[in-house]
Symmetry: C2
Subunit: 765 residues, 2 copies
C-alpha cells in the first residue's frame, strides 16, 4: 500500500514537472565567458549547433599580406579577445574553444566617411576600417550580439538562424555609408590561406559567391548569398593579388560597379546614402554546396526582414535546448556558469548541410544526408570524453546523427577511416588516437543507436580505422604491442589511447556478437601494460628494440613520449581498466599517494611553460585541468578506499577553474569538452570510461537539477544539505533506494525518477 | 509529260543517293594540317564536338615554375608544333586553332627507368621525363594517335569517346615503369595558372580529383576520374608549392603511397612492373561537375577495356559526320584539304555536360541541360562568319543546341549578356562585338530554330546584350552613334561590328513582329556611316568631339582604330549593306578599283609585322586572309559589275592558302572559321551576311558534292568543265532552271536537288 502511494506520487510529480513550460534560461548565459585569455570562445550570435557563427573579430592575422607570421594567431582562434578595444568586423564562421585556428569567413564591416579598405591596426585604428568599441556598449546574449562602433557611431546588432547570419546596422546620416565585405580576412597563421574567391553582384541587393581556403582544413570551399535591405548605390573592390588576371584589360575597369569579381585576395565594398538612424540590414547565408544552395538557405530560413522576430525565435531555440537541464544552485554565479557551460556545449558539432540536405563531402562530391542532420567540426580527442557522453543523456537524437555523420565521413574517406579531427569536409588529423570509436561504443552501449544503424557497419568502420597501417604508428603498435618512441613521437600517449579505443571496439564487437574481433581487440586493449615501467611506477616511452627511453623526465611534456600531458598525468590513462591499472601500479594505497602527490606537488614554472593551451590557474599541483588527458583523474579516487577525495577535488576544480566572467575558463573550451566536464561534475557524476554504462560519482555543485530527457522522462536530482562546505556525499538514494556503490548506471538515470544526494561537512570514510 | 519524267528521275536519284552507306572518309583527313606554324590545331584523338581532346604536347610553358614568361606560349596554343622532336606528354583538353591559349589539363606521360618528375627541356630531353620522337613513327588519324616514344621504347596509342580519353601504352620489360600525371603542366602564359589541385587514389586502379585554374578562363574547374588496367605497384607525388600545408607533419609522409594529395603545384607518379610488350591502358574521364560525374562518364562511355573497339566506334562517328558532305575533287590534295577542313570544323564548340546532362554554369552553380546538348568554347568573333552558317546547313540540330547553350550562358550571366568569347563556364571577353547575335539571327532566318525556342527570349537576350552600358564603348556608341577612339580603342572596328550586329537584332525583331525594337536597331545598323571619312574614302576613327583622328595610317593596324585588320580591310566591313556601302564609297567602279588595289598592292614588311596570328603567305597584297575581318571581301565583287573577280580571288585563296600538309593553314584555324571559309568556298558559295538567307556565289573547287541534310534531303552539286584553269562560272542551273543572280537562297539549297555550275576558262563578263 505504501509502495503504491509512493508510485502514484512519483508519477504525478514527473508529470507536473514535465509540463513546466520553457523558462527564460538564456538570462543565465554569458557568451563572453572564455573570451579572455585561453578560452577561445566567441561572443557572437548563433543557434544551437548552428552552421553560422556570426561574431565580432577584434583582431585577425596578416592584414597587410606582408608575409609576416603574426605570433598572436593562437590568441585569436575564435577571433575575439576581451581585452581588445577595437573591432575589425563581423565574420560568419568560428570555432568554439579550439586550440587551433581556421574559419573567420566573410568579414562584414559597416563604416561611414572616407572609404578605407585596409583593416588597420589595433594601435592605430584610424589607419583602417576598424573601429574602437567599449564593453559598456556591448550586449551579449545567446543568438544576439550588439555593440556600438564608436568611430562611426554605428549601432550594430547581430542574430542568426541555423544557416543565415542577420546583421542590423543603425547608421548616422551619411552620404558615404559603406558595407565592407573583406574576403581576405580570415583566421589562420598562414599568409596564403585564400585559394580563390568569387563574387557576383546579382542585382542591386543580392550578392553571391564563394571562398576557397587552404587553412587548417586543407581544401575547403564555402559559398554565400548576401542580401541587403536597401539597394546598393555603387560598389567595387580592390584586388591584392600578386598576379592580376589580364583578361579584362581591353574592356573594363572591373574595380568599380563591375558585377563579377574573382581572385585570391579581394576586398569589396558597397556604398549607400543613409539618413540619421536608418537601418541597413543584411542577411548572409552560407552553404558548402553552391551559391544556389546558399540562396535557398536564405529564402527558407529568413523570408522576411523582421530582425526582432529572428532574434526572438533563435533565443527561443536556446531556451528550449538549455531547458533540457533545469538547475538550482547555491549562487547566481554557479547558475550562470552552469548555463554558460551548457550553452558552450550546444555550439557544436555544427550543422553541415543545406536546407535540402545537400553538403560537400570529404571526397569533394555533393552528398545528401538521408533522414538525418549532417554535422561537422569533430574535435574528437577532446570531445569523446564528456561531450558526446553528455549528448547521450540530453541530445541522443543529435548524437546519433553525429555518428551517422561520422559514418558518412568514413564512407567518403579515401583512407577508410572514421574522423580524427574533422571539419568542413576535411580531415586535419589533429591530435592522436581514433576517438570516433569511443563515441560510437558509448552511444551503442547506452542504447542511443536505434534500428536505422547497422551495427556491423559500425564495427567495420571502427576496425578499419584501427588497422590503417600508415596511420600514426599503428603498424608498430600492431607488430610490437606499443608505439616505439624512436619511430613515432608521443608514443606513450598513442599506445595508451589506442589501447582504450581498442577496448571500445571490443565492446562494439561484443554487441554485434563478433567474437573474433572481440578477442583481437580485447587483447590490444591490454597493450597499455607494455609501456608501464614498474621500476619507476610510470608509463614510459619504449624504443623499437624493446628498451626504455633514457633521460626520461616525468614532469616534462616535451619529447617524453606524451602530448598535452606529462608522465604524472598520462600514466593514469587506462580508463577501461582502472582496477588493473591500480593493481599494476602497486595497489590502492600506493595509488592514492600518487594521486595525492599529483594534486599537491610543487610544479615548476619551467614545466608549466611547456604546457600548452592553458592558464596558470588551469593547474592544481601538477594536475592539468586545462588540457584533457587528465579529466578523468579526479574521479579515480573512486577506485581506491578514499572516494571522498574525488568529491573534494571536483568541487575544488569547479570552484577554482570555472566562473561566469570573461576569464571563466582556465584553458581552451575545446569544442565544449571543458564545459561538459563541468556540467557532468555539477550534476554529481562523470563518465570516466565512455563505452561503459557507468558514471563515477562525484560531488554535485547544484542544489537541484531536473534532466528532461527526449523520451519525455525526467530525472530529478535533489541535493540535500548542499553548501560550499558540505561537499562530501554521505548517502545517495535512487528512487528511494540507497546506492552503495561508487557509480551510477546510464539506464538508472535515463529511466528517470529521483536521485538524491545527501551531503555533509565531513568525508564519509 | 516531260516534267513528270524529270520529277520521277529526280526523286529516284535522291533516294538512291541518300541510301549510299557511310564511306571511309577519315582516310582523307590529316589532323596534322595546321600543326606547323600558326594553324594552332592539335593532332590528337577526339570525337566530333567531343569534350576530351587527348593530344600530345611537344612543349608547354613554365616547366621550372621559375616565374619567367616563355615568349613561345603563343606558338603552343594547342600544345603541339610539328617541327619539334620531343613529346612532353599527352593531355586531355585542347583548343583547336585559337589565337589565345588555355587548357592542356592532366598531362600523362609513360616512362621507364629512373623516375624523373621534371619535364626537362627540348634541348636536353634527358634532363626530364620527356622523350624524343620521330614523325616516321607517328600515325595521326581522326580519333586515333600513335607514336613511339624513342627514349623509353614505349609505343603510345590514344583514342577517345566524348568525355573519356583512352590511352594504350605498350611497354618494354621494366622493373621501373611509370605513369606520370603532371598536374602542373598546362597551356597558358601565366606562372600561377594553377589555383588548386586535388587527387585521391581511391583504390589500386582508380584515381579521382580535380584541377582549378586561373588561366584565360579566370575561374575554371575540371574534375577527372582515371582508371588503370593494371593495379598500381606504388605511387607518390611531389609538391612544388611555395607554402606547404603543415597539417600532416605529425603523422604522415604524404609524398609516398598516401592516397590524398592536394596543393597548387603537384606532379604525381604511379609505378608498375612490366613485361616485354605489356600494355598498360588508362581511361581518363573529365567532368565540369564533380569527380562523381567523371566516374559516371567513364563507366557509361567505356565500360570495357577494348581499345580497338573504342577506336573503331569513334572513327565511325567521324565517318558519319564527314559524310554529311561527299565530294569529288580534281586532286587528292584537294580532297584531303577539304575533309581535313570539315574535320577541323567539327572539333568545336565542344560538348560541355556530363552523361546525365549536368554541367557547371557561368554562375558556378550546377545546371542540367534539359533536352539539349550543352556546348562550350564559343570563339564568336571568328565563328559567326562561316562556321555557324555552315552548321545551319549540315549541323542544324547541333547549331540549335549551341544557341540554347548561348541562351543558358545569357541566363546565368551576371552581366545579362550573350557569350562574346566563352569557354568552360567563363567569359573571357576576347575580341569585340556581340556576335552571338548574328548566330541567332542566321539560325532564325534560316528556319533552324524550331518551336522549342521562344523567339522573344532570343530578342530580349540580344537587346540586353547590345544595350549593356558598361560593355566596350556601347554607352558612347548609343549616345554618339559611334565609338570614339579617345574613349575606347579599336573604335572603328567596334562601331562597324556593332552596326552589323544591330542589323541582325533588327532581323530578329522583325521575325517576332516587334516594330519598336526593329526601328531602334535598324537605325543603329546605319551607324557605320558615322565612321566613314568620304574625304579619304576609308573608315576612320573619330574622337568624342566629332572630329577625325589625326595621323591616320590606312595600312597600319596598331592604334588606328582597328583590330586584326587595317583600314584597307576593315573599311569594307558592312556585310548587311554592301550596296549602300559601295554607293557611299563612290560607286561600283571606284569600289572595284579599291578592291583591286587591296589584292595587288605591295604590302610593306613593317606592316606585316603588326598583323597578328598569320604567316606571310596569309596575305595577298594587303588582303589578310589569315585573320577574319576580311573573309567576306573576296566575295564583294559580286556587288559590282565584275563578279568574276570574286571567282578568281577565291580560287586563288583556296589554292594558295590551304593545303593537306602540316603547314596547310596560313593562320590560326580560329576554332574552325578558316576551315569553314574553305568548305563554303569549295562548294561555290559563301554567307557574306549571316542573318540574311543569301549566299554569294563564288567558284567551286570541287568536281562534285553531295550535301546530305539532316532532314533526309540531298543537294547534289555538279561542276561541269571543272579544272584548275576553268575557274570562271559561266552558268548556274538549280534543278534545271538557270540562276541569273549572284546569290543562292538558303532554302533553295536545303530543299535539295541538283545545283550545276558550268565552268569556263574565261570570265563571263
Amino acid at each position: 500500500m505504501r509502495r503504491l502511494f509512493i508510485f502514484i506520487f512519483f508519477v504525478l510529480s514527473i508529470r507536473l514537472i514535465a509540463q513546466t513550460t520553457t523558462s527564460n534560461l538564456i538570462q543565465y548565459v554569458n557568451p563572453l565567458v572564455g573570451t579572455k585569455n585561453m578560452g577561445h570562445t566567441y561572443p557572437g550570435a548563433t543557434v544551437p549547433f548552428g552552421m553560422v557563427q556570426l561574431s565580432p573579430e577584434t583582431d585577425t592575422v596578416q592584414y597587410e599580406l606582408n608575409g609576416k607570421y603574426n605570433g598572436d594567431v593562437y590568441k585569436y582562434c575564435s577571433g575575439y579577445q576581451y581585452d581588445d578595444n577595437t573591432i575589425v568586423g563581423f565574420s560568419h564562421t568560428h570555432f568554439s574553444g579550439t586550440g587551433h585556428s581556421d574559419l573567420g569567413d566573410f568579414l562584414i564591416m559597416p563604416t561611414v566617411g572616407n572609404l578605407k579598405l585596409n583593416p588597420g591596426t589595433a594601435n592605430n585604428p584610424e589607419s583602417g576600417y576598424r573601429s574602437r568599441f567599449n564593453h559598456n556598449n556591448e550586449t551579449v546574449q545567446p543568438a544576439y550580439y550588439k555593440v556600438l562602433l564608436d568611430d562611426y557611431a554605428i549601432q550594430t546588432e547581430l542574430t542568426a538562424t541555423n544557416r543565415v547570419g542577420f546583421h542590423q546596422y543603425t547608421f548616422p546620416e551619411s552620404e558615404n555609408a559603406h558595407i565592407i565585405l573583406d574576403l581576405i580576412s580570415g583566421i589562420y597563421n598562414y599568409n596564403e590561406k585564400n585559394v580563390w574567391t568569387f563574387v557576383r553582384v546579382e542585382n542591386d541587393t543580392l550578392i553571391t559567391g564563394y571562398r576557397q581556403t587552404n587553412g587548417w582544413a586543407r581544401t575547403r570551399t564555402v559559398y554565400f548569398a548576401m542580401v541587403f535591405s536597401k539597394p546598393i548605390k555603387e560598389y567595387g573592390h580592390k584586388k591584392y593579388d600578386q598576379n592580376i588576371y589580364k583578361g579584362f584589360w581591353r574592356k573594363f575597369d572591373e574595380s568599380k560597379n563591375f558585377p563579377e569579381m574573382a581572385g585570391k585576395q579581394i576586398r569589396a565594398y558597397f556604398n549607400f546614402k543613409t539618413t540619421e538612424g536608418e537601418k541597413i540590414k543584411i542577411k548572409f547565408a552560407l552553404s558548402s554546396v553552391s551559391a544556389q544552395g546558399a540562396i535557398k538557405n536564405l529564402q527558407t530560413e529568413i523570408p522576411h526582414w523582421d530582425f526582432e522576430l529572428v532574434k526572438n525565435q533563435s533565443q527561443d531555440l536556446w531556451n528550449k535546448e538549455l531547458s533540457k537541464i533545469e538547475v538550482e544552485t547555491l549562487t547566481d554565479k554557479d547558475k550562470e556558469t552552469f548555463y554558460t557551460a551548457l550553452y558552450h556545449i550546444f555550439l557544436g558539432p555544427i550543422t553541415y548541410m543545406d536546407v535540402d540536405s545537400a553538403y560537400r563531402g570529404l571526397d569533394q562530391n555533393i552528398h545528401y544526408a538521408k533522414d538525418f542532420t549532417n554535422y561537422t567540426i569533430f574535435s574528437l580527442w577532446d570531445t569523446y570524453r564528456a561531450l558526446h557522453p553528455l549528448f547521450n543523456l540530453i541530445q541522443p537524437k543529435r548524437n546519433a546523427d553525429m555518428i551517422k555523420s561520422m559514418l558518412e565521413h568514413y564512407n567518403q574517406s579515401v583512407h577508410k577511416m572514421l574522423p580524427v579531427w574533422s571539419h568542413y569536409a576535411n580531415e586535419n588529423w589533429c591530435m592522436i588516437g581514433y576517438h570516433s570509436v569511443p563515441v560510437i561504443a558509448d552511444a551503442l552501449i547506452k542504447g542511443i543507436l536505434t534500428d536505422d544503424f547497422n551495427y556491423n557497419d559500425l564495427l567495420n568502420a571502427s576496425v578499419n580505422t584501427a588497422e590503417n597501417q600508415y596511420y600514426d604508428g599503428i603498424n608498430y603498435y600492431m607488430q610490437l604491442g606499443f608505439v616505439p618512441e624512436d619511430k613515432n613521437s608521443s608514443s606513450v600517449s598513442k599506445t595508451l589511447e589506442y589501447a582504450y579505443d581498442d577496448w571500445c571496439i571490443a565492446q562494439i564487437a561484443e554487441k554485434t556478437g563478433n567474437k573474433l574481433v572481440y578477442d583481437k581487440f580485447i587483447l590490444r586493449s591490454q597493450f597499455f601494460t607494455n609501456v608501464y615501467d614498474s621500476t619507476i611506477g610510470f608509463m614510459r616511452p619504449k624504443l623499437s628494440d624493446g628498451t626504455w627511453k633514457n633521460d626520461f623526465n616525468t614532469l616534462s611534456t616535451h619529447g617524453q613520449g606524451f602530448i598535452e600531458g606529462n608522465a604524472w598525468n598520462y600514466s593514469l590513462y587506462v580508463p577501461h581498466q582502472p582496477v588493473q591499472m591500480i593493481e599494476m601500479m602497486g595497489g590502492k594505497k600506493r595509488f592514492v599517494q600518487q594521486l595525492d602527490s599529483l594534486f599537491t606537488m610543487q610544479f615548476d614554472d619551467k614545466y608549466f611553460a611547456e604546457t600548452e593551451d592553458i592558464t596558470r590557474d588551469g593547474i592544481i599541483g601538477n594536475y592539468v585541468h586545462g588540457n584533457e588527458p587528465g579529466h578523468h583523474i579526479p574521479y579515480l579516487y573512486n577506485w581506491t578506499d578514499q572516494p571522498w577525495k574525488t568529491q573534494e577535488r571536483v568541487r575544488m576544480i569547479m570552484e577554482s577553474m570555472y566562473s561566469n566572467t570573461p576569464d571563466g575558463l582556465c584553458g581552451n573550451d575545446d569544442a565544449g569538452q571543458m564545459s561538459a566536464w563541468y556540467v557532468f561534475s555539477a550534476l554529481g557524476f562523470y563518465p570516466v570510461c565512455p563505452g561503459s554504462d557507468q558514471y563515477a560519482i562525484g560531488s554535485p555543485l547544484v542544489k537541484s537539477a531536473k534532466i528532461n530527457f527526449e523520451n519525455g522522462k525526467v530525472m530529478v536530482i535533489d541535493v540535500k544539505n548542499q553548501s560550499s562546505k558540505n561537499i562530501y556525499v554521505q548517502k545517495i538514494m535512487l528512487n528511494n533506494k540507497e546506492i552503495t556503490r561508487n557509480y551510477l548506471l546510464h539506464s538508472e538515470i535515463t529511466e528517470g525518477g529521483f536521485l538524491t544526494y545527501i551531503m555533509g561537512l565531513k568525508p564519509k570514510k
